[in-house]
Symmetry: C2
Subunit: 514 residues, 2 copies
């Protein structure tokens, strides 16, 4: 990758590229999390084996639907499945066998090689919220998202130390035609940030555009040999694979690009009301989806996804940060590890309309369970509000700060001589204090996680400064970050080539808002 980047930069060769790199502020980005703590295993072996056996029964007896996709049916038929209309019934063990060619982990390359991420194993890669049609901030309230908002979120993600990934549709830029949106979104990720990103899945042709833009950014050969996008293909639970999402998956798999194969489940509506039943369905769906990706191209990188919320059975509203969602997230992690593929779940989930205490309780519950569940790729890890309808600017930086807590937790506990601190305990003795002792002086700088947002001031100071709540502090931080944003350097030839591609594509078709 380092070589590839040098090549890219070398191509332009001019002083402009070097000037751009020199003037760029160096933004600190933490390395993706490499867990040094155990995963939380909520299911015992008996439960796991029952769920796995039941998932095979579902695939065999009930089957899954591949809708409006004759080529998919043909692939399945050749692989040995029983095809009945659009229904695909998969003999016991076949789906799991097909999944065995999927890599257990893969590298997603960023254009800045220092920001490439390894997805899988004990790692956790954090990406921002995905998909909200609305944005909110304290000043402007709730409103339809625009491309200007989108760009701001990409900049904030670029400047957030604990975010490893720029994400995808951080909000829906509703002021751009639907059929051209993906071009502007990709352009933003590619030029305003140097972190890895996601491709478009709203139409197979847009997935193809995403691949072609990556070929400009990374070089055509590099893209075919390496993974440079991780994209989100949802399953229409229960057990339905539509032609749009599968069409996008086909494009990505053929081009060696990663897809998250992700059931989208509101428990009690799209899956049974019980945790074990939901896990069974999730596993059956993911087995079918990942198996299909391997039929398209064996060894294509994939992720076992599980987007699961519980439901308020009175109102039908999806609910977040609940115990049942946590149970499913823990259990699905175990199933993913047994399948030997990376796992995507959790996020800064909440149902609240405001970035208030409800939002924070629900989010903290969800983030903590994501870390403990062994999630490898956490989409929505910051900025999610109102059940995902809203991307909130203040909550984005509030959540992003809490992602630092996950980094700290995952470090685990050192117990070398320095960490044992016996000399310090001997030095201080009963009744003393450690603030000035040698061990504290030597270690305090890295001993504790530091917030960049929260208030630790004495009450009187805090009151004098206006008694600001978290949202108010976050508003100020959003403003400061955006004011200090500096675009990462990029080879001007590449930038020009990307702009030309986008302009040409846009000119090739009329605007469409459907």
């Amino acid at each position: 990758m380092a070589e590839a980047t040098t090549r890219r930069r070398g191509r332009g060769g001019g002083g402009a590229a070097r000037r751009a790199e020199r003037t760029a502020v160096r933004i600190e980005t933490a390395k993706y999390i490499e867990r040094n703590i155990p995963n939380f295993e909520i299911l015992n072996d008996e439960a796991l084996e029952i769920i796995e056996a039941n998932a095979e029964t579902i695939l065999e007896e009930v089957g899954v639907n591949f809708v409006d996709n004759p080529a998919a049916l043909e692939r399945w038929r050749e692989a040995g499945a029983d095809i009945d209309g659009e229904r695909v019934r998969i003999p016991r063990g076949l789906a799991r066998k097909l999944c065995s060619t999927a890599p257990s982990q893969f590298t997603q390359h960023a254009r800045n090689p220092e920001k490439s991420v390894v997805i899988g194993g004990r790692n956790l890669v954090l990406a921002p919220v995905y998909g909200p049609p609305f944005v909110r901030d304290a000043q402007g309230g709730r409103r339809y998202a625009t491309m200007d908002d989108f760009n701001k979120f990409v900049k904030l993600a670029y400047m957030s130390k604990w975010l490893h990934h720029s994400g995808g549709t951080v909000c829906e830029p509703t002021d751009v035609p639907v059929n051209k949106r993906h071009l502007d979104m990709l352009m933003a990720h590619m030029t305003l940030s140097d972190k890895p990103f996601m491709g478009s899945v709203t139409d197979p042709s847009r997935a193809q555009d995403s691949v072609e833009m990556c070929e400009i950014l990374f070089g055509k050969e590099f893209v075919q040999e390496n993974t440079v996008m991780t994209s989100l293909t949802n399953i229409n639970s229960p057990m339905t694979f539509d032609d749009v999402m599968m069409g996008a998956l086909e494009v990505y798999a053929k081009n060696n690009q990663a897809c998250i194969v992700s059931p989208f489940i509101v428990g009690g509506a799209m899956a049974p009301v019980s945790v074990a039943g939901t896990l069974t369905q999730v596993l059956a769906e993911v087995l079918a989806g990942i198996a299909y990706s391997q039929l398209v191209r064996p060894c294509a990188p994939v992720i076992f996804g599980a987007f699961v919320t519980s439901i308020d059975m009175n109102s039908g509203a999806p609910t977040f940060g609940t115990p049942e969602a946590a149970h499913i997230t823990y259990g699905a992690g175990q199933l993913a590890r047994r399948l030997g593929v990376p796992y995507r779940s959790a996020g800064s989930f909440c149902g609240s309309k405001l970035p208030d205490a409800q939002a924070a309780y629900e989010t903290a519950n969800s983030l903590n369970m994501g870390l403990m569940a062994g999630v490898n790729f956490m989409l929505h890890s910051c900025g999610w509000l109102e059940g995902g309808l809203v991307a909130d600017f203040e909550k984005f930086v509030m959540d992003a700060d809490q992602l630092g807590v996950l980094h700290g937790l995952a470090r685990g506990v050192a117990y070398d001589d320095n960490a044992q601190a016996m000399d310090a305990i001997r030095e201080v003795g009963p009744g003393g204090h450690y603030l000035g002792c040698a061990h504290t002086q030597a270690n305090f700088k890295d001993a504790f996680w530091k917030t960049e947002l929260l208030d630790y001031k004495p009450f009187e100071t805090w009151e004098e400064e206006g008694a600001r709540d978290t949202r108010t502090l976050a508003s100020a931080r959003v403003e400061t970050l955006l004011a200090n944003y500096q675009q990462p350097g990029m080879d001007p030839d590449v930038a020009a080539a990307l702009a030309a591609y986008v302009a040409e594509k846009k000119a090739s078709m009329p605007d469409a808002f459907m």
Copy 2:
């Protein structure tokens, strides 16, 4: 216990007691949590053995101070410790051996036997915030706490489904003289609630008063044979046991009442800046404290306590919901289980001045880690604000609602035939939905945790109703709960005897505010 309660009720024998019970609203209280999920074990055996060996080295080489307490020094000398002034050096293994008579779990009886709790094992008992000199609510702001506030918190705790325990000093009633406060506080717990509670520790004589009031409430013989109070005796870390706390512990141990032996540590100030070092000191301190309780009375019930926060090394402020505090809480749980005694830690900790998003992030982090760490008794589980300086009314009910999440998480995952839900998956099939299916109808009522506070309404409804944030919703809930409070029935003779005891005690000494 059922027998004991019948006896108490029988004593008054009158219609008044029966009338009082008949008219009382039946308030639902959840049973204490019996975990059906694993504990999170962050330390490996090697780390645990090193920490345990180091703790013995500290006790042997450095020792601990028992201050202004010649009787304690004499007890230690007789047990085989080396006494040098007030310094007690404990030979390797002695403290752990003495701890072996401490029970691994015990029942704390409530006057309502249905609300007795078993502390230890896989259980988790939840008690409210303890100790704040200030209270806060949205209407009145931050102010010194009064007895009126105290009574309100006891009522709220009584009405909170997920609180198993009435706690102790839920706030400091600063309008009552210091030397008489404990009498009014105990009277409130005994008469306004029927949940278990804590005794006074601010002076040995006040501990004795607590025992005597319990003898009136439960019967003298019952108190000597059963545990009816769990009280909080802090260690002045590092390694100092003062005469007030130890005097209270002596009273309680002699009377078979439980004490939490609890280092009070702001990491980097009262303990080394490293997690392993802090755990070593915590273990040494708890070993010494519990061993001492067993010298006073073998088999006296005790709890391994750990109150640990991290510190902001810039300002010196204690910080909450941090990764380092979580590491210590997880590790201390493992040490307590290896010692074979119940474990107290965690709570609704936060540093925020308001019940805002910061408060909720920090609190949710702390509550989740408390559940996962295997905590058996969680003091401060709701209502804590501003580093424990403030008991907040809104946060009390906000946190108390989140305690329901812990109950749900701890239930674990069922995987019987009904939970497997294979019939439902077969019935619904690809593309269907589960809202109306037989399995959902049969199970939805208990399938999901239900909030009694948070907002799940559609955006438009929420906006029409005033766009209320969590704190505003909580204000309304506090008001509703207090308006609907009904005192639990009590034998009027017992109530009169308690009132007479308090009046006599108060008359026996002048007011003191020190």
